[in-house]
């Protein structure tokens, strides 16, 4: 809170106007429309809409496709989070040991942050291309027949790898910052007491890193749930047989391709509630981090 302020009454509104107008027109109004449309249903010709109450939601809850999408989203989000955070933690611990080469390694590891999810998808799609890609060739040598066009598991692995790859650099930077903020004296004291590197990691480093880890957990789940649209659309487009149809992709697919506005809007509302929960978790956690 500022003690010294300016007393103008009109000026602050003029300053806020651009932000508020854009927020209202492109955020609040569409969100309200999504809520409204989630209670409506259009007939087959799009000429009449009728109020159907919670029917769209009830329909979602009965739809095996929607449950499949929930399941796929959960598997996808957990896999991406675990894979990218695991890799990033390993690399951050290794860089944390370095003295002179920290900067070089950091530079070599951070740049994938700048690659668009859609481009990351295209790159991995090319590498895993069943006819000319190098990975299927390598996998064939060990007897695995890779085909993400027909195999559900392979398709899921492809989108998980592409999404996790892009997120490693982000997690790496935050883990490294977390590791470097742990006072060296703690680990030195443990070393003097005879604790080896592994023991020191599990008894000192990892617990002290937990605020960073929790924060990254939330961020990665949000990333996997919403920002990976480009990865999915550029590679599997939700297929084969809905195996990679995550919730965000389904909102888009049902709304634009399937033209089922009511169902798409109901799914939007469900997603908004999920983001709301995740945001609350994140903010509560940030407060905790301050007190840690």
């Amino acid at each position: 809170m500022k003690r010294t302020i300016f007393s103008n009454q009109l000026l602050p509104w003029l300053l806020l106007a651009p932000q508020l107008i854009i927020t209202f027109v492109f955020f609040l109004w569409p969100a309200a429309q999504a809520v409204r449309q989630s209670f409506l249903r259009e007939d087959a010709f799009g000429t009449r809409t009728s109020f159907v109450g919670l029917e769209n939601f009830a329909y979602l809850l009965q739809s095996p496709e929607y449950f499949n999408s929930l399941k796929v989203t959960a598997i996808f989000a957990v896999s991406v989070t675990v894979l990218s955070m695991g890799m990033a933690l390993l690399l951050a611990i290794a860089v944390d040991r370095m003295i002179r080469s920290t900067r070089v390694y950091t530079t070599l590891l951070v740049w994938p942050y700048a690659v668009a999810p859609a481009v990351a998808g295209i790159l991995w799609w090319f590498i895993f291309n069943p006819t000319i890609g190098i990975m299927p060739y390598v996998l064939a040598q060990v007897g695995y027949d890779w085909n993400h066009i027909s195999s559900k598991t392979d398709a899921m692995m492809l989108v998980v790898i592409a999404s996790a790859w892009k997120q490693i650099s982000y997690n790496f930077l935050f883990f490294l910052a977390g590791l470097q903020s742990i006072p060296g004296s703690l680990r030195e004291a443990a070393a003097i007491d005879g604790a080896g590197p592994v023991r020191r990691f599990f008894d000192i480093t990892f617990p002290l890193l937990s605020p960073t880890t929790f924060f990254l957990l939330v961020v990665n789940i949000v990333y996997a749930m919403f920002d990976t649209f480009g990865v999915i659309d550029a590679t599997t487009e939700g297929g084969p047989a809905q195996a990679t149809n995550i919730m965000v992709y389904k909102v888009y697919f049902d709304g634009f391709i399937g033209q089922n506005i009511g169902s798409s809007a109901a799914q939007s509302v469900v997603l908004m509630i999920l983001v709301l929960i995740l945001t609350v978790v994140q903010f509560r956690f940030v407060e905790k981090k301050v007190a840690y």
């Binding site: 492109f26 955020f27 290794a94 370095m98 668009a116 859609a118 935050f174």
Partner: protein
């Protein structure tokens, strides 16, 4: 490092080198593919070392594009992406810094309400409300325009919070001194707040430029005229068309060009980038 363990150091280096290789693998493969001719992909596996067609492929993509896929030359798409990324970055910074100034330095009725209106945008990513937002933009006649590409993505709670944080750390004495010297609010904003938040603005700009450049779903939906295709969205259209007739070398050249500007920004301005990343997540 606590104690000297050569074995562990070696292991750490090995892990890192392996990590760097895994991270770089897809880009290396894409780069190699982009330097080969169309026939090199017919013979089974893709080559692992660069071929002789680098200049030829890139100049073809930048200048002419692939006529069969209906996408414009990559040069045009990169220009569109640049306009979009710059408008989003500058627009977000401009409206956020103004609203943060209003929220921190003034007391007015409904201040809390205004702040909450901005706050909720944090919970409404464009992917979630994509259908109604598209309808709004279509009703406003903003399809196929730079305004339609950038304005709906400009509102930002994160940037507003960041500037609010920055302003709250600026000592009250500065404001008092400015007021005693007779400076009005806008003069104070221009001569004191803006210079003091210069590095924050620069750091934020790096993050927002990457954010803007990498937009995918939004440009994909609202550009139907190829004049307004952005490169990240256009590459998918190109890959789709290519499916029938594999022109992987050209798709990968486009992918390389799509990555180049944001990666260059991250590598070239690493210090600002890290600062921006850490600050926007606080």
């Amino acid at each position: 490092m606590i104690e000297n363990r050569p074995g562990l150091n070696l292991l750490a280096h090995a892990t890192l080198i392996l990590g760097v290789c895994i991270v770089a693998l897809p880009v290396w493969v894409a780069f190699v593919a982009s330097t080969h001719g169309p026939t090199d992909f017919m013979s089974g596996t893709i080559p692992m070392w660069p071929g002789p067609h680098l200049v030829e492929n890139y100049s073809q993509m930048l200048g002419a594009g692939v006529s069969t896929s209906g996408t414009p030359p990559v040069g045009t798409m990169m220009f569109n992406s640049l306009i979009m990324a710059l408008s989003i970055a500058i627009g977000k910074i401009a409206i956020s810094i103004l609203s943060a100034f209003a929220v921190v330095y003034f007391r007015f009725p409904f201040r809390g309400l205004a702040f909450w209106c901005i706050f909720v945008t944090l919970m409404l990513p464009v992917e979630v409300r994509i259908v109604p937002t598209f309808q709004v933009v279509a009703d406003l006649g903003l399809l196929n325009s730079y305004a339609g590409l950038s304005i709906p993505l400009i509102a930002s709670a994160t940037a507003t919070f960041l500037f609010r944080q920055v302003f709250l750390t600026i000592p009250d004495e500065l404001t008092e001194a400015a007021r005693i010297d007779g400076a009005g609010p806008m003069k104070f904003f221009r001569d004191i707040l803006l210079p003091l938040s210069r590095t924050n603005i620069a750091a934020l700009f790096v993050i927002l430029f990457i954010y803007g450049w990498n937009q995918y779903l939004w440009p994909l939906l609202i550009t139907t005229s190829s004049d307004y295709y952005t490169i990240v969205a256009g590459i998918k259209r190109m890959a789709d068309a290519v499916d029938g007739l594999p022109q992987w070398h050209l798709v990968m050249a486009t992918a390389m060009l799509a990555m180049l500007p944001p990666v260059a920004v991250v590598v070239g301005m690493q210090r600002l980038f890290v600062k921006g990343l850490v600050e926007t997540e606080k």
